[in-house]
C-alpha cells in the first residue's frame, strides 16, 4: 500500500549518492579549490586507465585544456563538492595542475575592460 509520502523519480534523489564516489569525504585534501579554479591534466604524468575509477578518468579527459571546476561539475553533472574532492585526489597525485582564481586588482580589471570592449 502506497502512501502520499512515497518518492518517485527525482524526488527520491540519485540512485547512487554522489558522495559515494568520494568514499563519503566532503572535503578536499591539501588544496583549496574555488569554483573558478582552473585545472589542467599533467602532460608529464598519466593515469593508468585500469587503475582508476571512471570518474577520475572522465575528469582527466575534460581538463586536457585549462578548465574551471564549475565546468567540470556541469559537464559531469556532479555537484561542485564532489568534483572538488575528486580533483583534490588527482592534484595530490600530481595528475592535475591547478591555478587559483585571480584577485581582481586594477591590472586584471583593465584587462577585463579591454577584453569586453573588443567583443
Amino acid at each position: 500500500m502506497e502512501d502520499d509520502n512515497t518518492w518517485f523519480d527525482e524526488e527520491a534523489g540519485p540512485l547512487v549518492r554522489p558522495y559515494a564516489m568520494t568514499g563519503g569525504r566532503t572535503r578536499t585534501g591539501q588544496t583549496e579549490l574555488d569554483m573558478i579554479t582552473l585545472v589542467v591534466a599533467s602532460r608529464r604524468r598519466h593515469a593508468r586507465p585500469g587503475a582508476m575509477e571512471p570518474e577520475y578518468l572522465n575528469i582527466l579527459s575534460l581538463c586536457q585544456n585549462p578548465t574551471s571546476v564549475a565546468e567540470i561539475s556541469a559537464n559531469l553533472n556532479l555537484p561542485l563538492g564532489v568534483v572538488k574532492v575528486l580533483l583534490g585526489d588527482l592534484i595530490d597525485q600530481e595528475l592535475v595542475h591547478f591555478r587559483t582564481a585571480l584577485t581582481p586588482d586594477n591590472e586584471v580589471l583593465q584587462a577585463v575592460l579591454n577584453g569586453i570592449r573588443r567583443l
Binding site: 509520502n5 561539475s73 585571480l102 584577485t103 586594477n106 583593465q110
Partner: protein, 201 residues
C-alpha cells in the same frame, strides 16, 4: 584563498604550469529578471549549470522514522565564459534564484569583481534581498533595469529612489537579450570597480 599574486609557494608552482587564470563576476536579480538570458547573450559557450548540494539541512532532523524528510537540497547556478585573452578567462555566474541559499552567494562572491543586479521594473522589490547582500558585504555592484516587452518604464533616477541606491552607483536601462546591452553592463561594472579602487588609493 591563496592568491597567485601573493607568490606563495603553491601559487607560484601552479602559475608556472597553468598559463591561464580566471576571474568572475555575478549576475543577480529576482526570478525572471533575465540572469541566464544575460549570460547567454555574452557567453562564448551555451550557459552551463553547476550544482551544489546542501546536506546541512538534515542536521537536527534526527528522527530515524522520518524517512519522508528530504535531507538534500540542490542549489543550481547557471554560468558562462568569456575568453578575455590568451591568459585570462572571465566567468559570469547567475546567482541562485532562491534567496535562502546565502551560503552559496558567499562562495560566489568570494573574489568576484562585483555584481550586476538586474531589476525587473514590474517587481522592483524582488531586488531587495540581493541589494541587501551586496551592501552588507561591501561587494561593488551596478544596476541594470530591464526594459524589454515595452514594460512600463521608470527612469534610472526613479529606480534609484525606489531602491534607495547611492548616487555614485551606475543604473542603466538595459535589454539583456541584446549582446551590446549586456556588454554595456559588463563595461559599466568594471569601470565602476576601477573608479572605486582609484578613490580608495
Amino acid at each position: 584563498m591563496v592568491s597567485v599574486g601573493s607568490d606563495t609557494g603553491a601559487g607560484r608552482s601552479a602559475r608556472d604550469l597553468v598559463a591561464v587564470a580566471a576571474v568572475k563576476l555575478l549576475i543577480a536579480g529576482g526570478f525572471g529578471a533575465g540572469k541566464t538570458t544575460m549570460v547567454a547573450s555574452v557567453s562564448e559557450i551555451t550557459p552551463l549549470r553547476t550544482e551544489e548540494q546542501l546536506t546541512q539541512l538534515s542536521v537536527g532532523v534526527d528522527d530515524l522514522t522520518g524517512v519522508e524528510k528530504k535531507t538534500t537540497t540542490t542549489v543550481a547556478m547557471d554560468f558562462g565564459r568569456i575568453t578575455i585573452g590568451p591568459d585570462l578567462i572571465l566567468y559570469l555566474f547567475g546567482t541562485p534564484g532562491q534567496d535562502r541559499f546565502w551560503f552559496m552567494w558567499d562562495e560566489l562572491a568570494q573574489g568576484a569583481i562585483g555584481a550586476i543586479l538586474l531589476a525587473d521594473p514590474r517587481r522592483l522589490d524582488s531586488c531587495f534581498p540581493a541589494l541587501d547582500f551586496f551592501e552588507r558585504r561591501g561587494i561593488p555592484f551596478i544596476v541594470g533595469v530591464n526594459c524589454f516587452d515595452g514594460a512600463p518604464l521608470y527612469t534610472p533616477e526613479e529606480v534609484r529612489q525606489a531602491l534607495d541606491i547611492e548616487a555614485h552607483i551606475p543604473i542603466l536601462l538595459s535589454d539583456v537579450r541584446q549582446r551590446e546591452s549586456s556588454k554595456a553592463l559588463l563595461i559599466a561594472l568594471t569601470e565602476h570597480v576601477l573608479a572605486l579602487n582609484e578613490q580608495r588609493a
